[in-house]
Amino acid sequence: MQTAVKKETESSEWIEIGHINDIPRLGARVVSAGDFNIAVFRTENDEIFALRDECPHKGGPLSQGIVHGKRVACPLHDWKIHLDSGEAVAPDEGCAASYPVRIDGDAIYLSLTPKKGCPNK
C-alpha cells in the first residue's frame, strides 16, 4: 500500500490510541484504521508492538492469536509471527507490516506509517 519512502516519523503523526492497561498482558487489541485493522500487542513485560492485523499466510487476524514471548501465533493456521519485525518465524516466510509505537507514561501512541523493510502492505 504505502510505498512512498518516509524519513523520520514526525511527531505530528503520533496518534494517541489509549492506555496501556486497555490491553491485557499477553494479549492484543485492535485499532480500526478505516479499511484495515492494526493489532496492538502487549507482552508480559509491558512492551507494546503494532502489526497490521493480517497474517502474511492467509490474512488471519493476528490480534486474535496467542501471544508468547515476543511472538504471536495466528489463530487460523498457527503461523508464528515476530512482534517486533512482523516477520514470520522460520521456516515460514512472510511479513506483516509493522507500525512504530511510542509509550509516554501509560499512554500509547501509534504511527500509521509502517516501518520500512516489510515488502507487503
Partner: protein, 811 residues
C-alpha cells in the same frame, strides 16, 4: 600430526562412512577421496526417478564440492586408483597422483554384469549403473523408439518403467518365468507383471538371450528359442559383481567379494572396506540399507571407538515404481518346516504372504497393500512370538476394529523403536524426537536432521504422517515420556501430577516449578496448563483467557474470513415453535448470512462479525438460550432420537435421558471436545456408538458405551456396562467424564485415551469400584457448580468487553 585416511570410491557407502566419522571425530584425519566419476557423491538408488523424470540430477546429489571443501577433504574427481602399495602405504591413480595413507578405506562398489553374448559391445547396449547410463538412456529415448531391457529384477524393471515414461516402447527379457524372483514368489510376481503390462510394458519370460543383433548399432535381440525383439537400445540389468580387481591386485584376500570381518577390516588391518564390493560372513549385499549399517560400524572403528560390530543385515525390498506397492523380506519361499499365512485378492490387487517357523515370522511378501511391511519386518527382526496374533496378523497392526485413515493409524501404532526409514536405519522415536526437540516442520527438515526419507524415498509417506501426527494436536498418541512441547522436558502426566501434589495454582508457578525453557510458554503448552489448572482447582482458579485459543476466549468459532459462528444449545436436540421463532427473528434482525443445521442437532448462525457477538448473544439470552460451546474443548452436544415417546421401536425415553445428560454436563471444560448421544433402541438412530459417551436404550435399561469417534479416524465405542435406571446413567456418565477430565492429556480425545490407558483400567474405576465411581461423579458435580454460568449472558452484560470492541478508531 593427523593420521591420513584415504577413501577409494566416492559413492554412497564410502562417503556415508566419512559423514559418520566426522560426526564422531571431526579432526582425527586428513582425508583424501578418489572417485572415478566426474561428480560429487550422488544417491545412486535414485537414478530411477531421474530416468522417469520425477527428479533431476541436482536433486539426487548428496554431497557437492562445497561439502568436501567445508570438511577439508581433498577430492580427486574423475581419477581412478590403479594401484595400492601396501608396503609403502600409498595409493596411485591413473594420472600418476600418489597419496600416502595410515588407514585406507576401499568402497569401490560393483560392476554391472554384461552377458558376454555376441553383440554385447554394439553401440546402444549399456548397463544401468551411473549418471552416464541415465544420460545415455534419456538421449536414446529422444531419438529412438524401441528399447529392450534384459533382466526382470528390481533394477531392470525400474529401468524399463523409466524408459516407458520417456515415451519408448519397452520389452523386458527375463531368464526366469517370474519377475523379481529373488524378492517375490510366483503369485506376487504374476500380479506385478499384470500391473506393469497395464502400464504398457511387454514381457518375454523364460527367455535366454542368444545374440544381440545389429550392424553399426543395436537393432534387436535374438533369443535361444528363436523369439526376437526389436531394439534401438538394450539395457543390461542382469546383476552386479563386486568390483574387486584393485583389491585383488593388492593381494587382499577376496572370494566373491573383498572379505571383511565384523569391524569392516580386510586381512590387512589398516585397510577397511565396505559396500557392494565386500563379502561379509559369506554375504554380498546390493541394497543400500546394509551399506549404511556397515558405514556406522566402520566409522566407529576408524574413530578408535571400536565398540560397534557388524553382524550382517536382514534386508527388505521395495520397488520404486510409482503406484506399485510391493514389499518383501527374509525367506518368503519357506520349506517343509514352515507354515504360510496367505491372503490373495487378485481382482483387488492385494496379496500378502507371511512365512512362519516356530511361531516366528521368517519372511514376508506383500503386494498392493504394504502398509504393514515395516511391522512384519520388525516382528521378524525381533523374533517376536506371534502365536497370539495369528488370527489377525494378515489384517495388519491397525486392525483394531476401526476404519478411516488407516495410514495414519499405522504410523501411530508403531512403537518408538520401529524402523521407519530402512535405508538409513531411522526409527520412529528418532524422528518424533527430532520433530519435537528441534522444532521440525517439514519433510526437508526431517531429512536434514535425521536422514530419514533422504535415500530411496519410499518411506516419505510414513515420515509425512509422523510429522502430521506429531505436530497436529488431535492425536497426540505420543508415548508418556514425550515432553508436552518444546518449552519443557516434562510430559503431560508429570505436570498434571505435579500440579496437584504441589498445590500449584497459576500458569507462571507451574512454569517456574517445572523449569520451563521459554518465557511464557507457547500456543501448545499454555492452553494445556490452563485446562489442567481449571480441572484441578475448579472453585479457585482464575481462568487465563490469554492462554486460551481465540474460540474459547470469545466463545464463538472463528471462520476463515475472521467472522464467527454462533450455536446456541438446543437441549437433547429438542426445540419448540416458540424457540424456532425467536431464532428466526434474531437471525433476521442481524441479517445472518448463513443458517445451518449442524450434525449435533442444533442451529448454527454463520458470518457474525466479532463486534456483533455480544449483541446477538444478548438477544439469544433474553430468549432463553445459552451457549452451545460448539467452539470449545468442552461438552458439545447430546444427540438423541425420539425414543419411546413417539417411535414404535423405542424402549426408553431417550430424548429426556439426553436432555438430562446435557443439563448435567453443559459448560464443562474437557481435554478435548466431548460428544454424547442417546439412542432409544439398538437401531441406534442417534449414532451413540461413535460418541465419546453413548447410551443405547434396551428393554431392560441402558447400555453404556465409551470412547467412540466419528471424526478423522472412525472408532466404534467400547461397551462399558449395562445399567437399569436413568439415575445410574447420570452417575456413570458423570464419573466417566470426570475420569477423562482428570486423566487424559490435553487435546487427547476419548478414543486414543481409552486405547492408551486400556478399557480394563476404566472398567475397574467406573464399573467395579462403586466408591471410586461416586467420588468421581461428586467431583464432577462440584466442578459443574462453577462452570454452568452462561458465558454469553455474562458477555452480553459487558464482561470482557475489550475482546469485542476496537481500542480506537483512527484514519
Amino acid at each position: 600430526m593427523k593420521e591420513k585416511l584415504v577413501l577409494i570410491g566416492n559413492g554412497m557407502a564410502g562417503v556415508r562412512t566419512l559423514e559418520n566419522l566426522l560426526e564422531l571425530e571431526p579432526d582425527m584425519y586428513d582425508i583424501t577421496v578418489f572417485g572415478s566419476e566426474p561428480y560429487g557423491n550422488y544417491n545412486r538408488i535414485l537414478l530411477s526417478p531421474v530416468l522417469t523424470g520425477e527428479k533431476t540430477i541436482d536433486e539426487i546429489m548428496l554431497n557437492d564440492d562445497a561439502w568436501y571443501a567445508e570438511n577439508k577433504i581433498t577430492l580427486h574427481k574423475g581419477k581412478t586408483v590403479t594401484k595400492i602399495d601396501r608396503k609403502q602405504r600409498k595409493v596411485i591413480a591413473d594420472d600418476g597422483t600418489e597419496v600416502e595413507y595410515d588407514r585406507l578405506l576401499i568402497a569401490t562398489g560393483s560392476h554391472p554384469f554384461i552377458i558376454p553374448v555376441p553383440g554385447h559391445d554394439l553401440p546402444g547396449v549399456i548397463a544401468f549403473r551411473d549418471i552416464n547410463d541415465v544420460d545415455f538412456m534419456l538421449a536414446a529415448a529422444k531419438e529412438h523408439r524401441h528399447a529392450v531391457v534384459i533382466g526382470g529384477g528390481l533394477l531392470g524393471l525400474e529401468a524399463a518403467y523409466g524408459l516407458i515414461q520417456q515415451g519408448m516402447k519397452v520389452t523386458v527379457i527375463h531368464l526366469m518365468d517370474t519377475l523379481m524372483e529373488r524378492q517375490l514368489d510366483s503369485a506376487a510376481g504374476k500380479m506385478l507383471k499384470k500391473s506393469l503390462e497395464a502400464r504398457g510394458l511387454e514381457f518375454l519370460l523364460a527367455a535366454s538371450t542368444k545374440e544381440i543383433i545389429g550392424k553399426k548399432r543395436v537393432q534387436g535381440v535374438l533369443l535361444e528359442d528363436g523369439r526376437e525383439a526389436t531394439a534401438d537400445l538394450v539395457v543390461m540389468a542382469v546383476g552386479i559383481r563386486p568390483n574387486i580387481d584393485l583389491a585383488k591386485s593388492a593381494m587382499l584376500h577376496c572370494e566373491r567379494g573383498l572379505v571383511v570381518n565384523d569391524t569392516m577390516q580386510t586381512y590387512d588391518p589398516r585397510v577397511y572396506a565396505l559396500g557392494e564390493c565386500v563379502q561379509h560372513r559369506n554375504e554380498v549385499y546390493g541394497l543400500v540399507a546394509p551399506l549404511f549399517e556397515q558405514a556406522k560400524v566402520c566409522a566407529n572403528h576408524l574413530a578408535h571407538l571400536g565398540y560397534a560390530k557388524y553382524e550382517g543385515s536382514m534386508t527388505s525390498t521395495k520397488l520404486k515404481v510409482t503406484g506399485i506397492d510391493l514389499f518383501s523380506a527374509g525367506d518368503f519361499h519357506g520349506d517343509e518346516d514352515t507354515e504360510e499365512v496367505v491372503m490373495q485378492d487378485v481382482a483387488g490387487g492385494v496379496y500378502k504372504k507371511i512365512v512362519i517357523r516356530d511361531n516366528k515370522i521368517i519372511g514376508a511378501v506383500m503386494y498392493g497393500d504394504t502398509i504393514d511391511g515395516a511391522w512384519y519386518f520388525q516382528l521378524m527382526r525381533d523374533g517376536t512370538d506371534i502365536s497370539d496374533m495369528r488370527n489377525h496378523l494378515l489384517y495388519g497392526q491397525a486392525h483394531l476394529g476401526d476404519a478411516g485413515h488407516g495410514g495414519e493409524n499405522a504410523v501411530m501404532a508403531m512403537s518408538d523403536d520401529m524402523e521407519i526409514c530402512g535405508c538409513n536405519g531411522v526409527c520412529k522415536g528418532d524422528i518424533v524426537k527430532a520433530i519435537t526437540t528441534k522444532g521440525l516442520f517439514t519433510l526437508d527438515d526431517v531429512r536434514a536432521h535425521t536422514k530419514a526419507s533422504s535415500s530411496c524415498g519410499s518411506c516419505t509417506g510414513l515420515v509425512e504422517q509422523l510429522l502430521a501426527t506429531t505436530l497436529g494436536s488431535d492425536y497426540s498418541d505420543a508415548p508418556r515420556k514425550t515432553p508436552m512441547c518444546a518449552c519443557t522436558d516434562h510430559p503431560h502426566d508429570e505436570v498434571r501430577t505435579g500440579i496437584i501434589a504441589n498445590q500449584i495454582k497459576t500458569i507462571p508457578e507451574v512454569m517456574k516449578h517445572f523449569e520451563w525453557k521459554t518465557e511464557n510458554g507457547c500456543p501448545k503448552c499454555r492452553p494445556a496448563l490452563n485446562y489442567y489448572l481449571v480441572c484441578a482447582w475448579p472453585d479457585t482458579y482464575k481462568d487465563d483467557g490469554q492462554s486460551r485459543f481465540i474460540n474459547e476466549r470469545v466463545h464463538a468459532n472463528i471462520q476463515k474470513d475472521g467472522t464467527y459462528s454462533v450455536i446456541p444449545r438446543m437441549w437433547g436436540g429438542d426445540t419448540t415453535a416458540k424457540d424456532l421463532m425467536s431464532l428466526a427473528k434474531i437471525a433476521e434482525k442481524y441479517d445472518v448470512p448463513t443458517i445451518h443445521v449442524t450434525g449435533g442437532q442444533r442451529i448454527d448462525f454463520l458470518g457474525i462479525e466479532k463486534e456483533t457477538l455480544p449483541k446477538i448473544w444478548g438477544d439469544l439470552s433474553a430468549a432463553g438460550f445459552v451457549s452451545g460451546h460448539a467452539y470449545g474443548k468442552a461438552m458439545r452436544t447430546v444427540k438423541t432420537c425420539v425414543g419411546s415417546e413417539w417411535c414404535r421401536f423405542g424402549t426408553q425415553n431417550s430424548t429426556q435421558m439426553g436432555i438430562d445428560l446435557e443439563k448435567m454436563s453443559w459448560g464443562s471444560w474437557m481435554p478435548h471436545k466431548f460428544k454424547m448421544a442417546v439412542s432409544g433402541c439398538p437401531r441406534n438412530c442417534a449414532e451413540a456408538t461413535i460418541k465419546d459417551f453413548g447410551v443405547v436404550c434396551v428393554d431392560s435399561g441402558y447400555e453404556l458405551h465409551i470412547g467412540g469417534n466419528g471424526g478423522i479416524k472412525v472408532r466404534a465405542t467400547d461397551f462399558l456396562c449395562n445399567v437399569t435406571t436413568p439415575e445410574e446413567v447420570i452417575e456413570y456418565s458423570a464419573a466417566f467424564i470426570q475420569l477423562y477430565r482428570e486423566d487424559a492429556h490435553y487435546l487427547e480425545r476419548t478414543a486414543p485415551w481409552v486405547e492408551r490407558i486400556g478399557l480394563t483400567s476404566i472398567k475397574e474405576q467406573i464399573v467395579d469400584n462403586e466408591v471410586g465411581r461416586q467420588k468421581l461423579a461428586e467431583r464432577f458435580h462440584f466442578s459443574q457448580k462453577y462452570s454452568q454460568d452462561d458465558p454469553w449472558t455474562q458477555r452480553a452484560k459487558g464482561a470482557e468487553a475489550h475482546e469485542f470492541v476496537p481500542m480506537k478508531q483512527v484514519g
